[in-house]
């Protein structure tokens, strides 16, 4: 474009220069008001505005296919060294939600496994030294809450189930509970159905209930 056009500072020229962006809705409020005011009195600018709308519509039609380009770029990605992840700090990495939930569930199951397979911490002791601490009461259930669960929510859930915390939390966040024997099954079902609870299951024999 070698043609030189002198743009004057009149309202008409200013409007002419702003019309494409008035058309595509990107002007600020002051500019819109300025254009509207001039359009009301200027047939030439109204016609130019209509031309712009037509041009913009014609530009909008071009079918494209990304498949070929993506296939080419994938080949290029495979050829380049996979240095991308190495410079990302471990804690900054995004973990997909499914893996987070799955990981928590696995941790919870392991925690429950530890509680249920460890030898009893309350053997039948026939002798107590005076300084011996009283044996902790045995629990009859284990519960694991999601890490983000608030203390208030946990307290409410445990109270609602009639549970008393007798152990934990351990490193995996598992609590040992003492539930009333006659309502244990129902309380565990209630706890297990709560969105904040990852695991709720019985431990020990029926006798310990």
């Amino acid at each position: 474009m070698t043609e030189i056009t002198q743009l004057r500072g009149s309202a008409h020229d200013k409007t002419q220069r702003l019309l494409p962006w008035y058309n595509n809705g990107t002007l600020d409020e002051g500019e819109i008001a300025q254009v509207k005011e001039h359009l009301a009195d200027c047939a030439e600018c109204r016609a130019a505005l209509a031309d712009d709308a037509g041009l913009a519509r014609e530009f909008a039609a071009m079918p494209l296919d990304p498949e070929h380009g993506w296939a080419a770029l994938t080949g290029e990605l495979d050829r380049r060294p996979a240095a991308k992840t190495s410079n990302v700090a471990f804690l900054r990495r995004r973990v997909p939600v499914a893996w987070m939930i799955g990981g928590q569930a696995v941790a919870a199951v392991l925690a429950v496994g530890i509680f249920t397979t460890l030898p009893s911490r309350t053997p039948d002791q026939t002798y107590h030294a005076l300084a011996s601490a009283p044996a902790a009461p045995a629990g009859n259930a284990v519960v694991v809450f999601k890490p983000e669960t608030s203390e208030a929510a946990m307290r409410s859930a445990l109270l609602g189930a009639g549970a008393r915390v007798v152990g934990g939390p351990n490193a995996s966040g598992a609590y040992v509970l003492q539930l009333p024997a006659d309502t244990r099954a129902m309380a565990l079902k209630q706890l297990g159905g709560m969105p904040d609870v990852l695991v709720a299951q019985p431990i020990g024999s029926e006798r310990s209930s």
Binding site: G25, L49, A50, A53, A56, M62, W70, L73
Partner: protein, 215 residues
Amino acid sequence: MNLATRSLNIRAMIAVAVTSERNVSKRSAGVGQAAREELRLLESIRAGDRQAFEQLYRLYHPRLTRFLMNLVRRPQLVEEVLNDTLMVVWERSESFNGASKLSTWIFAIGYRKAMKALRRQQDPIEDPEADRRPSPMPNPEQELSLSRNHVLLRKAMNELSADHRAVVDLTYFHEMGYREIADILNCPVDTVKTRMFHARRHLRKRMEGELADWI
């Protein structure tokens, strides 16, 4: 006032009314949501998530192809520049500092890559395969499949410089504001307005007699 002029004026007034309506509703909440989703994808890309990169690639492919097609006008070159552009996004995502919209940043990379490719094309390098390679311009058969308006518009666009084509495309197709376009092209806003003014005048001149049918 003759019938044709009156008819044109009525159409112009309808266009004004429609435009006013668009101005109110156009920049809706959906735009912000899409921008947030793109930023979320960029975060995942920074962590090396190739699926997120593919999603971003597919989001930007139509827009960038369109933009680059108007700039470099050779399908083979478009694909090369487009992939070069998105490879920068993949490899240098940390350099996006959030000072502009993500789309502005990506388009600016695309523009620089395209201009570099054009400069390379203009260098006189002997190409023994040139005669056997298909022409980048549409053949008569291809042109027949386009509407008359598209053919005229394409020819008129081809007569503009790459910088003018970029402004026209970013305004009409990508619906960007002149400030954002100035950021992408790294030039003053007045330059954008002036380029657009000249480009529109050229297009209108070339499309004379056809424009009325579009409106």
